[in-house]
């Protein structure tokens, strides 16, 4: 008997360690709570069993063994179902909580002769109750094993854990009793094994670490779609999804962006909380865990998943697709919103996702639409204007987002001022200014259009046919003469004339925030240059130095995802500085 008690005692130590591990490291309060409840029950059960068996405790404590045994079974069912359905288990499988409520009633209704733990699994009401409690999670795990690609492996371990509880509990008790070796009824020698397997699954679904919004209700969001919806943003690069996140955060909605890296968010004010996707083969379950926990924490909030393609590369497409579909259910249950960007998904993956009748919004590329809006005022020269702006900022045309609309208008205003100093024809200059104001107004109006509005297909680029543009240019030329062309030239030259320091400053500030200017000045002092002395030829050296120094800074960061983020920012700064340096690099 002492050997068996020692085994149960060792199990208690393991259970306590698992409990501490889950409480300290687990990031899903609901799962931590259910795991904690089961682990504590099993610890008390084991301790009471050892105490009564070895005579440390009064025989009256035997009732504690029975009660904890009865309690552990429905708690096992709740934990297993919670590990599968997450925070939505009260909605999805409410019956499991009825089991918990029934526990005291069942014990009371059981004939007094059967109150002893030795008869717990006999053919009586209590035995039936305990069997059902273990049967439900086993059946659910088996069902998930057969039908789910996301939970196939985890369901196996969950089923293994439940089977271990069945073997280590009632079956061993029966065997030991038949063999007449010892009386182990009420205890469960496999409890630490089951808890370890449950903890394994819990950690595989653990949210990615990162900043999370507080547990407060979300504000009203007039620019957002209705709560409870999951919308797929079909766009070449995830620009509108990130823009929608920034806009919603500004309106007081609880927002979470789950992405590999969000360099564009650096320009958003305020930047919405962002959690980085860490490369792991459990990517899909962890995405599900992260967003399910977020929706439970901030019902009515908005989650944005711009890098679904990366999740597919981590866990495979079937698991990723299932994670999105499960999240749709969570969204509906919690009245939250989810934006999924289909950028960089392959054609079969998009087709497969589309077949689930998710709301699907096809959105334009902001750069193309900005050009179309400007073309209404400047004709084909609009492309030239945008290109000049992008060149001055060290950006590629495809990097332009709606966040660049305002900086572009400032750039245009400066080009117009430069032109104003040289052009002699005052009425023509006045006309050009009016035309630029109209373009600015149209661009600002376009920038405020919601994705939902744009998804209806009413895009500026679709309106501006080539014929219209031809007429427009002719009309413009009629009353402004060659002033328009002069504006394009002024804009094109503005990038060259603009202080190189100013261009570099834009790059550093966009990537590193306000601290970026300090970093730039520090790098300049290392080069022995003052801001006004910075020449285009120096920018290549500046790019190299900044890359080396900032990479060294990234190397001392211990948090892998932060290191990755800084490395991406460094790469972006280097690439843009090289673009500014141009041929002189």
């Amino acid at each position: 008997m002492i050997v068996y008690s020692l085994a149960v005692g060792a199990g208690i130590v393991v259970e306590a360690w698992l409990l501490a591990l889950v409480v300290l490291r687990g990031r899903r309060p609901w799962l931590v709570a259910t795991f904690g409840a089961l682990a504590l029950t099993l610890i008390v059960n084991g301790a009471a069993f050892i105490g009564t068996s070895e005579g440390f405790l009064d025989p009256a404590w035997e009732s504690a063994v029975l009660w904890t045994l009865v309690l552990a079974n429905p708690l096992t069912a709740i934990l297993v179902l919670s590990l599968i359905h997450g925070e939505t288990v009260p909605r999805r499988r409410p019956v499991v909580f009825v089991l918990l409520a029934l526990a005291p009633l069942v014990v009371l209704l059981t004939p007094s002769a059967d109150w002893a733990v030795q008869h717990a699994y006999d053919a009586n009401l209590l035995g039936a109750f305990l069997t059902v409690c273990l049967g439900i999670p086993l059946a659910e795990a088996a069902y998930q094993r057969m039908t789910s690609s996301l939970f196939a492996v985890d369901a196996f371990w969950l089923a293994f854990g439940v089977v271990a509880l069945i073997i280590g509990g009632p079956i061993y008790a029966l065997e030991f009793q038949d063999l007449g070796i010892l009386q182990s009824a009420g205890s469960n020698v496999a409890a630490p094994v089951a808890l370890a397997l449950f903890a394994l699954v819990l950690f595989r679904h653990d949210p990615f670490p990162g900043t999370r919004p507080s547990r407060t209700p979300s504000g009203a969001a007039p620019h957002l779609f209705d709560p409870g919806r999951t919308v797929v943003f079909e766009e070449t690069r995830p620009k509108y999804s990130l823009h929608a996140a920034a806009l919603a955060a500004k309106e007081g909605v609880r927002v979470l962006v789950l992405s590999r890296a969000g360099p564009d968010l650096a320009t958003a004010d305020p930047a919405p909380p962002s959690v980085p996707l860490i490369p792991t083969r459990h990517g899909a379950p962890r995405v599900l865990g992260t967003l399910a926990e977020f929706f439970a924490r901030a019902p009515g909030g908005l989650a944005v998943l711009p890098d679904l393609d990366d999740v597919a590369l981590m866990s495979g497409w079937p698991s990723t697709e299932e994670a999105v579909l499960r999240l749709r259910g969570v969204c509906r249950d919690t009245g939250s919103r989810l934006i999924v960007a289909s950028s960089r998904l392959t054609a079969p993956e998009k087709e497969s996702l589309h077949s689930h009748r998710l709301d699907w919004w096809t959105l334009p590329d902001p750069a193309e639409e900005m050009e179309a809006v400007l073309a209404q005022s400047f004709g084909p020269g609009a492309r030239e204007l945008l290109a000049a702006f992008a060149r001055a900022r060290g950006l590629r045309r495809e990097d332009l987002t709606l966040n660049h609309a305002e900086p572009f208008l400032q750039f245009l205003e400066r080009a117009l001022s430069e032109l104003g100093q040289s052009a002699a024809d005052a009425p023509a200059r006045q006309g050009l200014r009016a035309q630029t104001s109209a373009a600015a107004e149209a661009l600002r109006a376009f920038a405020t259009r919601t994705p939902e509005d744009l998804a209806r297909g009413d895009w500026p680029s679709r309106h501006a046919s080539e014929a219209d543009r031809g007429i427009l240019v002719t009309a413009a030329e009629y009353w402004k003469g060659k002033e328009m062309q002069e504006l394009f030239s002024a804009a094109s030259d503005l990038g060259d004339r603009e202080s190189v320091f100013e261009q570099a400053r834009h790059v550093f500030v966009e990537q590193l925030g306000e601290a970026g200017e300090g970093v730039l000045r520090s790098e300049l002092s290392k080069l022995g240059k003052r801001p006004e002395e910075l020449r285009r030829a120096d920018v290549a050296h500046l790019a190299d130095r900044a890359a080396v120094d900032l990479t060294a800074m990234a190397d001392v960061v211990d948090v892998p995802q932060e290191k990755l983020r800084i490395q991406r920012q460094v790469e972006s700064i280097r690439r843009r500085l090289e673009a500014i340096a141009g041929d002189e690099s």
Binding site: T236, T280, D310, R344, A347, E398, E571
Partner: protein, 176 residues
Amino acid sequence: MARRIVTLLARTGLLFLLSVVLVFGFWEHRNFYQIGFTNLLLLGGLVTFLVILGFRLALSGDMPRRRPKGELTFTLDEGDRLLRGGAEIAVRPADRVPTPVVGQWLWAKYDTGRAFGRLLVVDGTRRILADVTDEEARKAGYASAAELREAGRARWKWTPRDLVAVLRLRIEGAKP
């Protein structure tokens, strides 16, 4: 050769030991196993089968997850760069079926079909080819992103708008 014989003997010895433990277990629990000859044959057979299977797996020292599934082919130059540690990234068409996933083991093969090692996909991301950076291209063994695009154009007829998978790999030894 001698090492192989020792390994074989050790594994055989352990399997024999396991068989002895199983027989001892049946003897020890003889009363409990009074469930009828046919039942015992089926259930006992199944349990014994699973135990031996699990034991063999443990003895092999090669867990199922570490077994390569699928392959990634490289030109001779690419393969050599990977073996010498001069490259750690492979850029491949994203619509490759089946797509390798993070944590998957793959055979690394030359175009000629000869396997030269096992690869673990450590990380992966998808990019539009035009978005692949110089840094990534350098890690893939090319001088610049432009050179990578040129190589891809010749090999897979890539255009800048094509989707590619950027896979960070770890190679583990050459295939014996």
